[in-house]
């Protein structure tokens, strides 16, 4: 029996190989080494929730009718009977209440989408804080960044499809922001809606974008993203035997096939659990889109909160200074453009191009495959925490009515507070984080020089009491001394010896200032010299 199976397998392998030379690929990939760390699974969560999205999405497309034609509801959900609604909304109710497993799949799809966007952001944060975006991975950072933007596009287009009153108001907000764009804004609104808001063609257009264009782009980018991961080989955390020139870990087959493959089923299982037990987006409670009603405490999906928060935070006028300007008879709504377009553009632009900023500051041109411990890059870690603080303040302001209600605070006070906090708290968070990092580095320094306290007090012959310190073990020691020490960059002076300004000086000066900001205050790793000296002082 065994030999027959083997024979069949060999036969198939031979058949395929003779037509594809797949043998070479299998030889190359099967035992490829992957390093192990829990934080490497964050990107996997994103990938797997996307697969769950595809699977559950196929189910939904079989029942959803992307049409804005108005019909009278006659289905089984009692409170909606007789209500006039679009076919999109009525088919959503139909699949929720008349198709066995339909509501389950809707909820699985929605939870998977929320998890997809969340895991992408957390994965990005992991890559950022460990410096995994450094050479040669800058391009892959940019691909990952684009995937993050596409996940927001996928989320928003999907959220709008049921044509319920909440998502309709979300679209109306988009319409308002579009109209604020100078010169072309009104026409962009007409372009999107096929005429005046909301038109009669938007849902079919969003549907095509949601099931074809956006996922197509995401699939292509994922393929590229993973191809580059394979090409670069995975980064690894610092530790004994780990260098920029090797990769230490376990083979793809069988260990990671089982672990990562198994993890897909875990992610799917957890999402199925959420879909089965936790209601999400109960559109039957909101009702079909109608431009007239809206209820208090309305919230967009979480990943849109930061823009909504910015819109809430921005004052229409401040101390009598209006943010809607009329220039030559044309209207420029800065109270919409700043929060709705300029802020996201600056935030996303900074995120997208951060790897190059840091490369200018460090001047390092080598390949980096060993990750940084966040404490060993205090300025980067501080910037990351600062940006997260900025984002969280916006997101909280995006649910300020809920927060105010929950904590019995004044809504207006919260908004006024957030207008100050958005400028002050990110800087404070940056500063505190940087200090915490250098503090942790000093602690590492101390541990390397003096070892761990053992709690054993010994009295010397001369009556002196000392506590015995135990030196760190080889691995713990190595992690604390093996990080790279980067000094601020120096550049050639402004003028050459004939007093002529050097070409490229201005950019060099910018890089030098950046470098000083990053690396001026730094804790250098303990050298063997210092360790020797510390030992001598003890004896």
């Amino acid at each position: 029996m065994g030999t027959t199976l083997n024979g069949a397998a060999t036969g198939t392998a031979n058949y395929v190989d003779e037509r594809t030379s797949i043998g070479g690929f299998v030889k190359f990939f099967a035992r490829k080494i992957f390093p192990d760390h829990w934080s490497f699974m964050l990107g996997e969560v994103a990938l797997y929730s996307f697969i769950v999205l595809l699977l559950s999405g196929v189910f939904l497309t079989a029942f959803f009718v992307p049409s804005m034609t108005l019909v009278e509801y006659t289905g089984s959900f009692p409170t909606m009977r007789g209500v006039e609604m679009s076919e999109a909304f009525s088919s959503t109710l139909h699949m929720s209440f008349e198709i066995p497993g339909g509501l389950l799949m809707r909820q699985i799809h929605h939870w998977a989408a929320l998890l997809f966007t969340a895991s992408i952001l957390v994965h990005m944060a992991r890559v950022f804080f460990t410096g995994a975006f450094r050479k040669p991975r800058e391009i892959n950072w940019l691909i990952g960044f684009t995937l993050m933007i596409m996940s927001l596009a996928a989320g928003f287009t999907g959220y709008s499809l049921p044509d319920d009153v909440l998502s309709g108001n979300g679209l109306r907000i988009i319409d308002g922001i579009l109209k604020a764009i100078p010169v072309v804004g009104s026409y962009m609104s007409f372009w999107l809606f096929g005429g005046e808001f909301p038109g009669e063609i938007l849902i079919p257009r969003l549907f095509t974008a949601h099931v074809l264009l956006v996922p197509g782009v995401i699939l292509g980018l994922i393929a590229l993203h993973l191809f580059l991961v394979f090409l670069h080989k995975h980064t690894q955390y610092p530790g004994g035997g780990r260098t920029h020139k090797n990769v230490v870990g376990l083979p793809l087959f069988p260990v990671y096939t089982a672990k990562a493959g198994g993890f897909f089923f875990v992610v799917f299982g957890v999402i199925a659990f959420m879909g089965a037990f936790f209601t999400v987006n109960p559109v039957w409670n909101y009702g079909p889109y109608d431009p007239s009603p809206v209820s208090a405490g309305t919230q967009p999906d979480w990943y849109i909160l930061f823009v909504d928060g910015a819109l809430r935070m921005m004052p229409g006028e401040l101390f009598g200074f209006p943010f809607e300007w009329v220039i030559g008879g044309y209207t420029l709504s800065m109270n919409l453009l700043i929060p709705g377009l300029i802020m996201p553009a600056l935030l996303f632009g900074f995120m997208a191009f951060y790897p190059w900023l840091e490369a200018w500051a460090s001047g390092d041109r080598g390949e980096k495959h060993v990750l940084d411990r966040p404490r060993n890059a205090p300025v980067r870690t501080g910037i990351g925490v600062g940006v997260i603080t900025f984002y969280v303040i916006l997101a909280l302001e995006g649910s300020n009515d809920i927060v105010a209600n929950l904590f019995h605070l004044s809504l207006n006070d919260l908004t006024i507070f957030s207008r100050f906090a958005i400028f002050i708290l990110p800087v404070v968070a940056f500063w505190i984080t940087r200090r915490l990092c250098t503090g942790l580095q000093r602690k590492d320094h101390e541990l390397v020089l003096h070892g761990n306290e053992t709690g054993r007090i010994v009295r010397h012959e001369n009556g002196e009491y000392i506590e015995i310190h135990e030196p760190l073990d080889a691995q713990a020691h190595w992690i604390r001394v093996s990080y790279e020490d980067i000094a601020p960059l120096d550049f050639a002076p402004q003028f050459n010896d004939r007093g002529v300004e050097r070409k490229g000086y201005k950019f060099d000066r910018f890089k030098a200032r950046l470098s000083k900001f990053y690396f001026e205050d730094r804790i250098t790793p303990v050298t063997p010299d210092e360790l020797e000296e510390a030992k001598h002082q003890h004896h």
Partner: protein, 356 residues
């Protein structure tokens, strides 16, 4: 990792030595055959749980009774969900448990190679491209192929404008009639009765008691065959009656209200959400989307939040039957600002437009 600038002043080495990959620590199952056997049984049990999950999902689909009520279908949903959950988690945890307890876990080292191509490959690549350029005739004349400068320019021009043939019809068609002057007009005309949203019954002034609010649509909106929602998106109005002593009538609008009854556009001047929440005590209207707050007693001026402009007021009067009617359309576009909001539209407009 080494730091060549540092000169040692004692016997210490220049840098610390990498202790190498940590020693492999054996797991229970590596040393104890009983533990290994136990782990094997656990993995098999987890796979078995997955099979059970699939059976539960199929049983829920085929076996559970779906009557016409919602509770029974919810039950089917939950049980299919439980089945899928077990089917997936069983496989997942089983595979991971297998990898973590039983598969060999000795760390292995693989060398990386620099991503940069070898000098030889780079030179070869450059030479190949150069040869191609020469062969095509784009570059300088060589190997008997003359330079054909005309081709490069004309090809680039052709490629640059060819997308227009595709994109212009695509984008051009998507915007419908592109008539953005529609932003200026709503369904309100002289004599249009104010009607209740959503049933469309007209409102008498005597129905409106002090402190009450009516959500209003123009009479006839519900009978529209086309563009009903677009019209509703612009035309919705809030009708509020204040004690006339509280109402601070704006100059030039003395005849726009009637005995403390005022009508304002419900569409927020910020981004167009319906301004639906009225606070009777303060006469404030709050937009639940971004909390722009408008003071009804003072011409719906903005008192808080991101909006910058007051809500447009609809001039109202009474008709001979005592119903509240519009005097005319709004005098300014309702809803959010846009670039040409204050410009007279180029497209031909109604007579009312010229007066505004």
């Amino acid at each position: 990792m080494s730091n060549p600038d540092q000169t040692p002043h004692n016997d210490a080495p220049e840098s610390f030595k990498d202790p190498g990959v940590p020693y492999h620590r054996p797991r229970r199952a590596d040393v104890d055959p009983k533990a290994a056997k136990r782990a094997e049984r656990q993995v098999a049990a987890l796979f078995g749980l997955s099979v059970l999950g699939t059976i539960i999902a199929l049983w829920a689909y085929f076996g559970l009774d779906i009557s016409d009520d919602i509770a029974s279908i919810q039950q089917v949903n939950t049980m299919i969900g439980v089945g899928i959950m077990l089917a997936m988690l069983g496989i997942g945890f089983g595979a991971i448990h297998w990898a973590k307890t039983l598969m060999r876990d000795h760390e292995m080292v693989e060398e990386r190679h620099e991503l940069r191509s070898s000098e030889e490959a780079r030179e070869g690549a450059i030479q190949n491209l150069k040869d191609g350029v020469v062969d095509s005739g784009i570059g300088a004349a060589a190997n008997g192929v003359p330079r054909r400068g005309l081709l490069k320019g004309s090809l680039i021009t052709a490629l640059a404008i060819a997308p227009l043939a595709l994109l212009v019809p695509q984008i051009g068609n998507m915007g419908g009639d592109w008539n953005i002057s529609k932003f200026r007009h709503t369904m309100w005309k002289q004599g249009t009765r104010l009607a209740r949203d959503p049933d469309g019954t007209p409102i008498k002034a005597s129905d409106v008691t002090i402190g009450s609010v009516f959500h209003v649509i123009p009479e006839g909106l519900n009978e529209l065959e086309t563009h009903k929602i677009e019209e509703k998106s612009k035309a919705v109005v809030l009708l509020i009656r204040l004690d006339p002593r509280d109402l601070n009538i704006q100059p030039g609008r003395e005849d726009w209200s009637f005995d403390g009854i005022v009508a304002y556009s419900k569409i927020c001047t910020h981004v167009g959400c319906p301004v639906a929440l009225y606070e009777q005590q303060t006469h404030h209207l709050l937009c639940p989307c971004h909390q722009s707050t408008f003071d009804v007693a003072n011409g719906c001026k903005v008192v808080f939040g991101p909006a910058e402009r007051p809500l447009p007021q609809l001039p109202i009067a009474l008709d001979s039957d005592g119903y509240i009617v519009a005097q005319r359309d709004f005098e300014e576009p309702v809803g959010p600002s846009y670039w040409t909001r204050l410009k007279t539209p180029a497209v031909a407009s109604t007579g009312e437009e010229a007066s505004s």
